[in-house]
Symmetry: none
Subunit: 123 residues, 4 copies
Amino acid sequence: MIQIDYQDKRPLYEQVIEKLQNLIVIGVLDIDSKLPSVRNLAIDLSINPNTIQRAYQELERMGFIYTVKGRGNFVASDTQWRNTEKDNKLKDFKEILNQLNRLSISKEELCDIIEEIYSKEEI
Amino acid sequence: MIQIDYQDKRPLYEQVIEKLQNLIVIGVLDIDSKLPSVRNLAIDLSINPNTIQRAYQELERMGFIYTVKGRGNFVASDTQWRNTEKDNKLKDFKEILNQLNRLSISKEELCDIIEEIYSKEEI
Amino acid sequence: MIQIDYQDKRPLYEQVIEKLQNLIVIGVLDIDSKLPSVRNLAIDLSINPNTIQRAYQELERMGFIYTVKGRGNFVASDTQWRNTEKDNKLKDFKEILNQLNRLSISKEELCDIIEEIYSKEEI
Amino acid sequence: MIQIDYQDKRPLYEQVIEKLQNLIVIGVLDIDSKLPSVRNLAIDLSINPNTIQRAYQELERMGFIYTVKGRGNFVASDTQWRNTEKDNKLKDFKEILNQLNRLSISKEELCDIIEEIYSKEEI
DNA sequence: GTGGTCTAGACCACG
DNA sequence: GTGGTCTAGACCACC
């Protein structure tokens, strides 16, 4: 399902969070579908269950999944996280625009890149 | 000159690097102008000289400054770093575009933001 | 009749208790009216009958319902619970008032909210 | 500084969070003052350092404290949490008002209690 | 079997 | 010495 990169310097649980979050946002994991149990995923990645537990907990706090005791963890509806995600990403977008502006990169160049990316993904 | 944010989780030297790099890119620090000495900046920020030393070393490696033994550290010419910077930022830009695309944010919305940022900065 | 919220962290039987208690206090369920049988409600909510059983037991202990063996569970008269409820809620009210006071929220602001709530509900 | 109540059924870290949060909101702990180290507080309460660690982490996430690696944990400025706190408490206030309304408790009775609490605390 | 909490003990990064 | 991460292993509540 996901894979740990031991070259990555960040804590393991952050990696797990990021990877699962990505799968959810992209839509690979359907809403209300069950995630692997804490223990199974731990065995699968051969890391400690506590680490997975912590990742799941954070993901719940962030609104990406919800937990039902004794049943498992499930993907939350996108109404929970879509707006937060959108806001965060737009903020990042503005930040990087400012930096590009300082490096005197033209609006036209950026618009071209936008066209390129958006047409690529439509395929 | 710069200020440490103790709420920032990253290592101190990274903060120092980022802040100095920013001052150079924006153009606050002129090319060939002298940076504060390792010791002075350390006293100024009341952190360990080793931390500043490490930051300066990294900045030199990245091509933002050059060191003259016994005389100090100086801002390198932009030919050294401008292209690298541009490439890095454009890569970041593309990455975030992909993410925004996945969240189904329209090209038009992004172009509006570009206009906004670029007109604001022209003032 | 009632609905389970699987995002709620509390044990299921607590949810059932709270929801039934609410229906009784609001007056949706009349005094001496029959509650659904343990089994039916269990099937209805697709949870284990034991959970409903436990909820009914607690509600009886609290004086909200009474059980007649072989016949079912019935809503108790409000003389049984009204005063207890009132006392509990007033204690909660005082507790939160203290907290609001510490955050220097003015009496006037609170009185405005009271007016608002009470007029809304009168409609 | 604080005390654990082993009768309390909630997780230990929640108790620690609540108690420290309270000390901060009331103003017993000044802004930027240092909290006990993870290990010291753990010894003091004779519980595991991980438990304290978790409590501190949550408090940081909530904006009540900030952490500086290698230095310790410090009380954050109230601009970080005052508004959040106020919003939360007002929501609780409205919730309980609705319940009191349903129990037909008069506005006047509530206003009297407000007067009582607010005059008591002014002393 | 599921998640949730807690302990004990280890190692690391930072200053 | 400080916080941060991770492991191993235990026990609990809920279903």
